[in-house]
Amino acid sequence: MPGQSAVRTRRIALAGNPNTGKTTVFNMLTGFRARTGNYAGVTVERKAGGLKGAPEDQPVEIVDLPGTYSLSARSADEMVAADVLLGLREDEERPDLVLIVADASNLERNLFLATQVMECGVPCVLLLNMMDVAKENRLAIDATGLSDRLRVPVFPIVAAKGEGLDAVRDYLVRGSFEEAHSALVEFPEVFENAVTDLLRTIRESDCPETFARPFLARRALLETDGIAGKRLLDCGGEAVSTALSQSRKAIEESGQRIVSLEARVRYGFIKQALRDVVERPEERVETLSDRIDRILIHRVWGTLVFVTLMIIVFQAIYSWSAPFMDVIDGVFGFLGGRLAAVVSEGPLQSFLVDGVIAGVGGVVIFLPQILCLFLFISLLEDCGYMARAAFLMDRLLSRVGLSGRSFIPMLSSFACAIPGVMATRTIEDRRDRFTTMLIAPLMSCSARLPVYTLLIGAFIPERKVVGFIGLQGLTLFAMYLVGVVVAIPVALILKKTFFKGSTPALILELPPYRRPGIKVVIWRLWERAGAFLKRAGTIIFAVSIIVWAAAYYPRSASVREEIEQEYLFELAEAGPDELPAVEERMEREIEGAYLRQSILGRMGHVVEPLVRPLGWDWKIGMATIASFPAREVIVATLGIIYDVGSDADEESPDLREKLQNARHPDGTPVFTIPVALSIMVFFALCAQCAATLAVIKRETNSWRWPFFSFAYMTLLAWIGALLVYQISAAILS
């Protein structure tokens, strides 16, 4: 067309069942180069990349559609896939060609979706992946024969090893695609007549021209609650709705049940098509996978392996990432120190060091844990164990209305809620997914540990309770338990209110075990880390800056002058050895005074009536507000408020002593055992973590859920702290 750019990018979609190697094919064809974005209005990721090796003047774009078992879509993921294939999405053009990835070792079921897609009126190609597995299972597949029966080009491949993909690439580059065929599977005549009738009505309705297509009418008739029917009713209104139910009635009256019609006919066709094309061994071969499963899902061994594996994962996230976190901490500390030395003291220095560096550091510090967890998740997912973990844990989780799929996200959250929330993507059911996302932050993550360590060390007596179990350890354990115990009723309530509905069925494929492709695993890690840094990072960073400003301003010079006046005499008296110590003490007092009259300090006074019943004074209230970006910030803030110097950490005996010695104006100690317990319980249950909230926002694509999380968790934390304080104060007094 004149005026239009000569180069038209050909668009190719990848479709297929989950676990068929779609991601691997995508990566091989694009050379591990993907651009990710979101489909408008839904939280489904859109992944696309250019075909590697395509000539520059004929670019080819490959879009990876979410894996699905059928076109009659249910989850948001599946709907996007179906929408794109049916040409119903406005933000995604219909592809020029669909590459259907099918697992050659499991052809019957894979061909169900494949033949559905082949009838969508887009040219198709069938990639028979996992040919190596098929061979191992002694299945002989005649690809040419299959191609004749299905009337589409068929390419046998082993995506994990890159075998056969050159032929696919050549085919794509050549670009002369076969014609699409409209109907492959033969349906009963009464059905075909119904399709014709419905088509006529659609043509006469208000639906756009593009909706009057046979494949849409067929899908609308076959799927009871499908996407095609929904889209047709949206534009066709009353007329189409009547025609649809009349056509259905006609089919039912002829003795065909609509529910089972498609499955019966389609699977019948597939059986026929595969006859003589796939040769099976007489007896089913016992595969390695079967043998592994006999151990891994065994009553005793399976449970044992499972528990051991989970302990290793947890331990790894917890301790393997610690050295890396220390390094990151050190690097940012060093950077801060250098900057402080270069930039002269004042607002700019404080902004750069306490705001920017500390803010960025607060984000990056989570990276080792996230990478570590996702490494395990990727490995377990790719090798096929994840489905088994869901299988093993489903019973327990179904008691609170969730399913086995929620297990990994919950476990991950004990390390850090951020990867936990991100891991909920594997949960198909939206209600389950959201419930899991909302309770995951209740699990005690590693950021709570500094808070617990500090307060337990300072206030819980070192006493043995029974045998070798000490009171301190027991308190720590109790803090971890609090979150779990509270999560149970919360999940039940959420599933009864916001996410009401019957417990979704668990129909979960247990794919054969496979050796994970290292490149794919690493690539996935990289992708997820990037997503975290980019999206969550910006929000956390912004919040950190705001909190910094609130703690820094206003800053009138008179505060410093007053304190310097007070110290005048002491400074003059001090000998040369004592002088630095006195000066340091003065500087700390000045810092404390500034903080007290900063915006944050004033907010502390404002919330004082609210935190009084918890046994707190305004300083603790203020430190809690300051720790909104991240829980562990409270340790540093307490350090500043109680004039210890801002480089306090939970190990510093100085800070412990300071807290022990802190006094109310009337001379009574600020921190008692009940106060310490109340603070710990508050931090166990609260949502003081901007990063988690940012990730919830990103994953739900709405501000509503992070706000909700924050509100309900803060309320719970307040109630919990209140109860613990009042009860323990009553008992101990």
């Binding site: 009659s72 529910v259 093993l392 979960l508 494929e509």
Partner: protein, 78 residues
């Protein structure tokens, strides 16, 4: 043995032919799409250590279902 049984009543290792799917339409449709059509052979492979869900083999692959769903699948033992 004759007469319909429920899939959930089979013991591990037992095989049967699917006769009918009872239950709500979305569930039935989902099961059908996964290949649990009439006259197809299924085998109960094992139950999870906690008793639920159940793993079955159908059309050469493995699928896990809750007992509740497996109870909706009527079969004839072979």
């Amino acid at each position: 043995m004759t007469g319909p049984a429920r899939l959930v009543d089979l013991r591990p290792g037992e095989r049967a032919l699917i006769r009918d799917l009872a239950g709500e339409v979305p569930l039935v449709q989902r099961l059908l799409e996964m290949g649990l059509t009439e006259d197809e052979e299924v085998e109960v492979v094992r139950f999870a250590p906690l008793g639920d869900p159940v793993e079955i083999q159908i059309r050469g692959y493995f699928l896990s279902l809750r007992k509740q769903e497996a109870a909706a699948i009527l079969v004839e033992k072979i």
